[in-house]
């Protein structure tokens, strides 16, 4: 049992560090705010191009497609080191992490060569179009249609929760090609040109006031059949393969609010005394310290498994499941500690630039994004513990006879 890098890993880490120290932008040169402004997107693209040109992008991809042909452990080391800097790393996590493998696994050689290096350098932006207003946790219940039209397909329908669709050049889209087949069987995957006339992107304003997601409307958008990924009506298998690959994109811990809280609670005073002298505060803090340590150490175990050649399984769902609720609970507790000032979200006045007020408002989204808490628990129960699936009333039923989405009685 050993926390240390092997000599080769240590050397790689050293090289990463040296390069980052020389090249990562200082915090104060970045625009404020999250990933939602045009300015942040511009910075993200610049950073991605810089790491690509220096040979640090998409480390596990083959060299011919813009990667470095390295293993998951080097990718993990990169992620760990870059997390120490205020870069826009991870800006294209969905494009590169999800759309990349879809093209890698199912694209033609010519497509891989022309598309992947541009994706890796963020010359092209990619988005993923799976979820729909009537198909969230039950994503295979999607209704967006693709209908054959000569050598092409016409796409009609609506997608939702699409990050970066407003910037995207391409999207990987899951469509229904045969509604008379049962739910999972009539789906087909394509990649679609997002800049064509039949594609309309509208931002969604979230509960916290931000706009990180979009709705995307397709009205007779055209996709040539050569942009089909996988077999006709084999789209569900493609989606599973893509999501399986997504789990390999580990290396960063899901946000749980702890670093910000730990920083804050050691400085906070309550009635003129350090907050941690209050036994209730101290013990609540200890609970989260322990939970955060558990997440950190679970991550270390998963990385060990990867370093030993294993593939992270559905256990990876754990970090997100635990982290999201923890973030919500921590922010609510912090606001309570701030007493009346807990409601003040003024960046100038509130403690730590109102980070906890903001987290209180965005944390509900963390518990839903990328699979709800409930879906995560189902994944653990069925895929890790091997418990039987829920009884399904739509099993084997032709899709066009299944009720889905909001149906008012």
């Amino acid at each position: 049992m050993d926390f240390k890098d092997s000599p080769a890993q240590a050397e790689f880490r050293h090289k990463v560090r040296q390069w980052l120290q020389a090249n990562a932008p200082a915090d104060n040169t970045l625009s404020r705010g999250g990933m939602e402004s045009d300015e942040a997107m511009r910075e993200g693209r610049e950073w991605q191009a810089r790491i690509y040109d220096a040979g640090w992008a998409c480390l596990t991809w083959p060299k011919e497609y813009g990667g470095q042909g390295l293993t998951a452990i080097e990718q993990v080391i990169w992620s760990q080191e870059v997390a120490k800097f205020s870069t826009r790393d991870g800006f294209f996590a969905i494009g590169i992490g999800n759309c990349g493998p879809a093209i890698m696994l199912y694209g033609s050689d010519q497509q891989k060569q022309s598309l992947l290096p541009r994706m890796a350098r963020a010359d092209d932006i990619w988005c993923q179009l799976f979820s729909e207003p009537g198909a969230g946790s039950d994503v295979a219940g999607l209704k967006t249609r693709a209908d054959k039209d000569g050598d092409s397909w016409k796409i009609n329908g609506q997608k939702i929760w699409t990050s970066q669709a407003q910037y995207a050049d391409y999207g990987v889209i899951l469509t229904r090609t045969d509604p008379t087949l049962p739910k999972h069987k009539g789906l087909t995957m394509f990649f679609v040109d997002m800049k064509q006339p039949g594609v309309e992107v509208r931002p969604i304003k979230q509960a916290d006031g931000g706009q990180a997601f979009n709705e995307v409307f397709f009205n007779d958008a055209v996709v040539p059949d050569v942009q089909r990924l996988g077999e006709l009506n084999g789209g569900w298998g493609v989606a599973l393969a893509v999501l399986m690959n997504e789990r390999l994109a580990i290396g960063s811990v899901a946000p749980n609010g702890w670093p910000e809280y730990w920083d804050m609670i050691r400085k906070l005073e309550l009635d003129g005394k350090p907050a941690l002298e209050d036994s209730e505060v101290r013990r609540r803090t200890a609970d989260w310290y322990v939970k955060n340590a558990g997440l950190k150490n679970a991550q270390a175990r998963m990385l060990s498994a990867v370093a030993n050649g294993g593939v992270p399984g559905a256990e990876a769902s754990l970090g997100k499941l635990v982290g999201a609720s923890m973030c919500q609970d921590i922010s609510a507790y912090a606001l309570d500690l701030f007493a009346e000032m807990g409601v003040c979200a003024d960046e100038q006045m509130a403690l730590m630039q109102a980070q906890f007020q903001k987290a209180y408002l965005y944390a509900p989204g963390l518990r839903v994004a990328g699979g709800t808490d409930e879906v995560m628990r189902n994944i653990i129960a069925e895929q890790v513990l091997g418990l039987p699936a829920d009884v399904r009333v739509d099993k084997g039923v032709p899709f066009n006879e299944i009720k889905a989405g909001n149906i008012r009685q």
Binding site: M1, Y289, K291, G294, A307, R377, N378, L385
Partner: protein, 369 residues
């Protein structure tokens, strides 16, 4: 980075599981559970089997007669002992007394007693706690006067079988220290107590000018006590982990084959999600326990932090898994006949043995803040 037990250590664990499955199945645990008040709650045959395999000496240096394998091997044994609920004095003898001897024993004491623990089947324990004055308490009433110990310790785990006790007491100068005592003398009176977990032995021990041997005098008492606690916390965490894992397996096995409303009850999300949460608690606890094992085995200076997080998450996980396993079994889970309550009892026993959770939370924050 390799945050896993080695293949050799996993083999030790497998062999331990096989031995305990054969020699200490739940029927053996239950036999101890059913004993009457006059009988010692330790299973002699299982303990002798463990001694024969050399487990008490796994982490004891060869110079003191042990196998000198290390703490990681001891951790995997602890996990299996916890999983099996084996009714033995292993934890008192090995995690507590042997470590106290290593830390506070004089060279002569170590040479005399450690080999007896490692291979001789000597049962030993710690007599630190004085009822409400817990393991962390330093306002001791036990007195060291005129070469003898005077006072009462409650509870002392495995005292009924222990031939040797490490006792904390205040000397005539008012300083706390450690003393080594052989129990085979009339001035030591051991009274069995009823436990929430009748598969473990607890007693009150009365010392009336009992002959004892002072241990090292040059030690910082509180600091030494802290190291004894921290080391034991990591080892107990592995026992807790093994028990919690057994509960989860029991719950998934039962709910898969139990049908209601025409389907296995494991297919209901109310139960699935409960078991997913048990899994999550165990994974967090396991990860923290591994960190504790790493810290313990390397002599790293973050042992206190590692021990606190390992203990706190393991206590939580075992409580959660043992109570929810009982719940998943419905009415049957509440019967004496089913084994759910054995784990529920042991969970609280292990959560209590090293003092209250608040103590460990405070200790953690004092260490890291």
């Amino acid at each position: 980075m390799n945050f896993e037990f080695s293949e050799e250590q996993k083999l030790v664990q497998q062999q331990a599981r096989q031995f305990l499955t054969e020699q200490s199945p739940l029927s053996v645990v239950r036999e101890v559970l059913e004993r009457d008040a006059s009988q010692v709650r330790i299973h002699e045959d299982v303990w002798q089997g463990i001694v024969k395999l050399g487990w008490p000496g796994v982490a004891i240096d060869e110079q003191y007669g042990g196998l000198g394998m290390g703490y990681l091997e001891l951790c995997v044994l602890a996990e299996e002992l916890g999983r099996s609920l084996a009714p033995t004095p292993f934890s008192s003898t090995v995690y507590l007394a042997a470590e106290a001897l290593l830390l506070a024993g004089t060279e002569a004491q170590k040479e005399r007693w450690l080999p007896a623990i490692a291979t001789g089947g000597l049962v030993a324990g710690l007599a630190f706690v004085e009822a409400t004055n817990g393991i962390a308490g330093q306002a001791l009433n036990m007195r060291w006067q005129d070469g003898g110990l005077q006072g009462r310790k409650t509870p002392v785990f495995d005292a009924e079988m222990a031939q040797l006790l490490v006792v904390s007491a205040i000397n005539e100068a008012g300083e706390p220290g450690f003393y080594l005592l052989e129990t085979d003398q009339p001035s030591v009176r051991c009274e069995s107590l009823t436990s929430i977990d009748p598969t473990r032995s607890i007693a009150a021990v009365e010392f009336s000018k009992a002959a004892a041997d002072p241990m090292r005098q040059d030690l910082d008492f509180a600091a030494t006590m802290g190291v004894i606690q921290d080391r034991a916390a990591v080892l107990f965490a592995f026992e807790q982990l093994g028990g919690a894992q057994a509960c989860l397996e029991m719950a998934t096995d039962y709910t898969r084959q139990r049908y209601a409303f025409g389907r296995p009850i494991a297919s209901f999300q109310a139960l699935k999600h409960k078991m997913a949460d048990m899994f999550v608690a165990i994974e967090l606890a396991r990860s923290n326990a591994y960190y504790g094992a790493w810290s313990l085995s390397t002599g790293s200076d973050d042992l206190t932090e590692a021990a606190c997080v390992a203990r706190l998450s393991a206590s939580d996980a075992y409580y959660q898994c043992s109570k929810e396993n009982m719940q998943a079994h419905g009415g049957m889970g509440y019967t004496w006949e089913l084994d759910c309550h054995l784990y529920y009892r042991r969970a609280q026993h292990l959560a209590s043995v090293l003092g209250r959770q608040a103590y460990w939370k405070d200790r953690l924050i004092a260490e890291v803040a």
